[in-house]
Amino acid sequence: MQYYQLPRFGRNAWIIWYRNLLVWRKLIGPALVLHFGEPLIYLFGLGFGLGILVGEVEGMTYLTFLASGLVASSAMMTASLEGTYSVFTRMVPQKTYSAILATPIEVDDIMAGELLWCATKALFSGTAIIIVAALLGAVESWTAVFAIPIVFLSALCFTGPAIVIASMSPSYDYFNYYFTLAVTPMFVLCGVFYPVSTLPDLMQSLVYLFPLTHAVELIRPLIAGTELQNASLHVLVIVGYALVFYYISVVMVRKKLVV
């Protein structure tokens, strides 16, 4: 059955990516406020405020610890929001995809374009946080530049599940299930705000099933200038999530649009 074919990647994906970039550019003002304002508030408020109480964590200032965690979680948040709300808007109420499918562009192109776009948007927000963190003196090493491609890669793995949710939901309200049951737990439990090692043993093994834990453990050392451990394992988990959920999302959207 053609619904289950492996997704194709073609040049047309970049046309979809370009469409989304053009729309984003029209709203660059509010986007910049979000990308730079949010981390500034988090880092000032939590980083300095909590930082006084916490002192050093894992051999780095709390500001650095928090900033590096937020870079990783922003990859998740940005990709999840874009993959649910924005993709749903284009797929259902706006019927943008129906209009595009009347041209030589196919479902696989749209999906590949959305995947690239969601990750690109996460790249913008992750980079903005790194810039803000650097200005606050929280970036300890030039290796932080390597965190940028990791943000892109991590966002790829969060885009798939988000699009799966968008394709299943009858309306925006249903995204709450996903955000409350998956995104928020990851945000709170996966080492963004405190080291995973402080969790009970059982919880520790559990959080390593979540991709955000692996994204944090890749990004934090690059920003803090500490030693990167088990890098290939972390990359493997993230790539695994990305491939599996991207495939599922493409199948789901094909079934929704090609009937």
Partner: protein, 307 residues
């Protein structure tokens, strides 16, 4: 008349199921190049599904479908590159202005930049949208949106234009403008395939018609031939309390009576006798007119309400 009789679409034994429900049942038809071809039918007749199969975005359940001599679904991409599709519902990109909508759509087709810019200006002019080029779709009236959607469908200079109920919900002036534009496109040699449930639209535009209901083709031919085939030459519509004369009317030879709602339709080739009978029934409201597609349509598909 164009001498060319090359078919642009050939469908044979085409069927579509959604689950166990058959929405298109074994239909055969050909659309000839340079002609306007219409699907006429009530809601749920299978018209839109047939159009979606022609676009290659709805897989065929069985049968064959060739467009421009190429098979579907295999050649979907090639076929769509030469089609212009005007959907029933508005799906213009709300984030872009009129001109950006056209530009982006041209990019989806891979039209080169220089060709595209020239074509966009021609299309804006053709659809009288020059003054609106920098407005967003939200700021346009229903008629302007539809004109923009048609302009958008022409951005790849298609050979065949497919329109799904192009004038539904539009006011009479706009409908006439759109009909004039479609006739102009036909003069340029483009083929047109459209669905409609407006009889006047079908009679004005279509060279050939298919009447569809519940997934099946009921009849097929030129609009005037279909009318001659299925109904008498004239009809007298009677409204009011016609119970007093209904018996007399029933006894007339060569007169067919049908009652729909509060109206009695008397079909006959010669209506002299009917009109004589009615001349002293001054309290009845009567209209005498030649039969048209509407009578065919109602006679063939029944007059119960369709949702």
């Amino acid at each position: 008349m164009k001498a060319n009789q090359r078919p642009v679409i050939v469908a044979s034994k085409l069927s579509k199921y959604f689950g166990v429900k058959q929405v298109v049942s074994d239909i055969d038809f050909e659309v000839i190049e340079g002609k306007c071809f219409g699907f006429l039918g009530p809601n749920g007749a299978g018209k839109t599904t047939t159009l979606r199969m022609i676009q290659g975005i709805s897989p065929l359940s069985s049968g064959q479908l060739h467009v421009f001599g190429q098979p579907l679904p295999e050649a979907g991409k090639f076929i769509r590159s030469r089609l212009g599709i005007v959907p029933q519902e508005d799906n213009l990109d709300p984030d872009f202005t009129v001109i950006q909508n056209l530009r982006m759509y041209g990019t989806y087709f891979g039209v080169s930049k220089t060709v595209l810019e020239k074509r966009i200006y021609e299309l804006l002019e053709f659809m009288h949208l020059e003054d609106r080029a920098n407005e967003k779709p939200d700021q346009l009236s229903g008629g302007m949106k539809r004109r923009l959607t048609i302009a958008r469908a022409l951005v790849n200079d298609p050979e065949l234009i497919v329109l799904d109920e192009p004038t539904t919900g539009l006011d009479p002036q706009v409908r006439h403008t759109i009909w004039a534009k479609l006739r102009e496109l036909m003069q340029q040699g483009k083929s047109i395939l459209m669905t409609t449930h407006y009889m006047d639209e079908a009679e004005r535009l279509c060279d050939e018609l298919i009447i569809m209901d519940q997934g099946k083709i009921l009849d097929h031919g030129a609009p005037s031939d279909i009318v001659t085939r299925h109904v008498e030459k004239h009809v007298v519509e009677i409204r009011g309390d016609f119970s007093v004369i209904i018996k007399t009317l029933e006894n007339l030879v060569d007169t067919r009576l049908e009652k729909y709602g509060d109206t009695l339709f008397c079909y006959a080739d010669q209506t002299g006798e009917i009109l004589d009978l009615l001349s002293d029934q001054t309290e009845l409201n009567t209209i005498s007119r030649p039969c048209n597609l509407e009578d065919v349509f109602l006679t063939m598909t029944g007059r119960e309400l369709r949702e």
